[in-house]
């Protein structure tokens, strides 16, 4: 740079330095430490600890239920955001405020509430259980809890984008002969896909990390409704630190890989605005 351009806030050097320091202390060093500890294991030992039947079942539930919850949130969160942005109705602001509720509510409280709702003698459970829908102490319960905690992410990511969608564009499609479905599918949906995917990724990531609400609603039955984070806690309680580490590393690697994939998809979906 031949000439220094004027900046209101401190420039690149200071902010970048701080960013790296901050990231290191909060993210990189703990993760590095985790990997270092697991390196003390041989590959065979690590593999054995990380792929016990119980662990595999736990991964499956964690990632499967998280994916299901994130997909449900992507669909219904989009609908909710659409209704909140596009329509004016009595109580709109109240509902809008309610969206943040899962953010604020301690997850243990959420888990407890949901568990009592869906239990066989609960408000909803007394009707649902006879119909064969068991919402408590089943994998379905895990999905319900994860949907609850992840819901605000999709709505809040999508809302500002929806507010900036021009009505003009819909009218332009209509003047060119497009009906409602065509306008939505060809014109509106592609512009909403990137924020929906961002919201999906956030809800998914949140679900993978969720612990508090699930331990109450799932019942934590090994091989059935036990999530991976809970298994880690059990390992720790057994003073089996390396066992816990092995599980943690697997969770970390899979989460990272999934987020990387989602990021690539997001970039693709957003190709028209770069």
């Amino acid at each position: 740079m031949a000439e220094k351009s004027f900046r209101v806030l401190p420039g690149f050097g200071l902010t970048m330095g701080f960013t790296l320091f901050y990231l290191s202390v909060l993210v990189l060093i703990p993760i590095g430490g985790l990997f270092l500890r697991t390196f003390s294991l041989s590959w065979a030992d690590f593999w054995k600890l990380a792929t016990t039947d119980r662990a595999l079942a736990a991964y499956q539930l964690t990632f499967g239920a998280s994916l299901a919850a994130a997909i449900i949130n992507a669909l219904f969160g989009t609908l909710l955001a659409w209704v909140l942005v596009r329509y004016d109705f009595p109580g709109r602001r109240f509902i809008d405020a309610l969206v943040d509720f899962p953010f604020a509510l301690p997850t243990a409280v959420a888990g407890l509430t949901l568990a009592s709702l869906f239990a066989e003698n609960g408000w909803l459970g007394q009707f649902l259980v006879p119909m064969g829908i068991k919402g408590a102490f089943t994998p379905l319960g895990v999905v319900i809890a994860l949907t609850f905690v992840g819901m605000p992410f999709v709505v809040r990511t999508l809302q500002p984008v929806l507010e900036h969608v021009d009505r003009d564009v819909e009218e332009a499609a209509a003047t060119l002969g497009a009906g409602r479905l065509r306008t939505f599918v060809s014109v509106i949906a592609p512009t909403l896909l990137p924020p929906v995917m961002t919201g999906f990724a956030l809800a998914f990531a949140r679900a993978i990390g969720e612990y508090g609400s699930i331990v109450f609603i799932s019942g934590n039955l090994p091989m059935k409704t036990e999530i991976a984070p809970y298994l880690i806690v059990i390992r720790l309680e057994e003073y089996d630190y390396t066992g816990a580490m092995a599980l943690a590393v697997v969770l970390l690697v899979i989460s990272f890989a999934l987020l990387a994939v989602i990021n690539v998809l997001e970039q693709w979906a957003n190709r028209f605005s770069r």
Binding site: D166, D168, V169, E171, A172, A173, A174, T175, L176, G177, A178, G179, R182, S186, V187, P190, T191, F272, S273
Partner: protein, 367 residues
């Protein structure tokens, strides 16, 4: 494609945006809907397109009533002020959108898109996304997209308002050329009287939701139907005069007028070009001081202050200004060669009653 509006009224929540408007647009015309913001012109355009339904009245296209025909079926091309391009589609896909809906074959679509790309000078931009284009380019894509399905009528809502002055000029010329070439009936909305005069062959002027006048640019300029039109189209000096001894007067200015009675109040208007200015103080009867000169290019606008303090505007070529050796602060003499009675006692006159007096024809008056 002739379009006829019959007694069209549009109300939004009890407030009339458009009030009992009727006019006809003949086949192949290029018509401007002109008026200040909020005068209802955009609403009229949207009702023609079908994006808005009239509260009362009927719209006919080629003699067929279209009130109940949905916007999708009206076969119109609409260009929005803010472009309204589909941002997730490339330029070519934007243009092809209407063709896909009309189920053109791929080969036909490609040919039509290529044709429009060439027609609107969008070569090499086919694969760009809208955000990669300049404002002028976006507006040309919007125009291409609207024209692609061969609409019966092209409607443009303030099409050039969002681009800078130079591009706006290019786009105006392009619209005129396109109209020559395609001869598609075109209606565009503008609040810029210069744009309306330059581009259209007929102007429909709106004032507060009502139709103020329809005519060629020349007609609305030279034969304004009301004071509103006179002041909106071009610059006009307007004076509130009172009649004394059979002559309308404003301060020292006198305007001989037919059929008036003493004490009557008249609104008299004259264009800046009708004010003749001389540096020879014996040439004309009135005197004024040149207060300010605005350089507008070839023409200059002068602000002249009469002894009574009244400021009137005059127009003059650069050459004449130099020849007369005028400077600000200098005293000049002037006469008003042409004026028009805009209204008497609050009543608005229809154009055929409004008489243009030419003072050179009545030398005895001595102004």
């Amino acid at each position: 494609m002739s379009i006829e509006l019959k007694n069209i009224t549009k109300q939004f929540g009890g407030v009339s945006a458009v009030n009992d408007v009727s006019f006809t647009v003949a086949d192949g015309q290029l018509v401007a809907l002109l008026g200040p913001s909020g005068c209802g012109k955009t609403t009229v355009l949207r009702m023609i397109s079908g994006l808005e339904a009239p509260t009362a009245g009927e719209i006919f296209v080629r003699g067929k009533r279209v009130n109940d025909v949905p916007v999708q079926k009206r076969n119109i091309g609409f260009v929005f002020q803010g472009y309204a391009l589909f941002k997730s589609m490339s330029v070519a896909d934007n243009i092809a959108f209407g063709l896909k809906i009309k189920k053109w074959t791929k080969a036909d679509r490609d040919a039509r898109v290529a044709e429009l790309i060439a027609l609107l000078g969008l070569k090499d931009l086919e694969n760009r996304f809208p955000h990669q284009l300049s404002g002028g380019q976006r507006q040309r894509v919007a125009l291409a997209r609207a024209l692609a399905p061969k609409p019966d009528v092209l409607l443009l809502d303030e099409p050039f308002a969002a681009v800078d002055a130079k591009i706006r000029q290019e786009l105006r010329e392009m619209l005129v050329n396109l109209h020559h070439e395609l001869n598609v009936t075109t209606i565009f909305v503008t609040h810029d009287q210069e744009e309306a005069m330059e581009v259209s062959n007929r102007i429909v002027i709106f004032d507060k939701g009502r139709l103020a006048q329809i005519g060629t640019p020349r007609e609305v300029y030279e034969e304004p139907a009301s004071e509103f039109v006179a002041r909106f189209i071009g610059v006009m000096n307007v004076l509130d005069c009172e009649v004394h001894e059979g002559v309308a007067r404003y301060g020292e200015l006198e305007f001989p007028t037919h059929g008036v009675t003493d004490g009557q109040r008249l609104r008299i208007g004259f264009r800046p070009y009708a004010v003749q200015v001389s540096n020879d103080l014996t040439a004309h009867r009135h005197f004024a001081v040149l207060r300010h000169t605005y350089f507008l290019g070839v023409l200059l606008r002068l602000e002249l202050e009469l002894p009574s303090g009244l400021i009137i505007r005059a127009r003059m070529s650069k050459e004449e200004y130099t020849r007369l050796n005028l400077t600000e602060g200098r005293e000049v003499s002037l006469q008003i060669r042409q004026y028009r009675v805009l209204s008497r006692e609050g009543e608005t006159l229809p154009p055929e009653v409004s008489v243009t007096h030419s003072l050179s024809l009545s030398p005895g008056e001595g102004i």
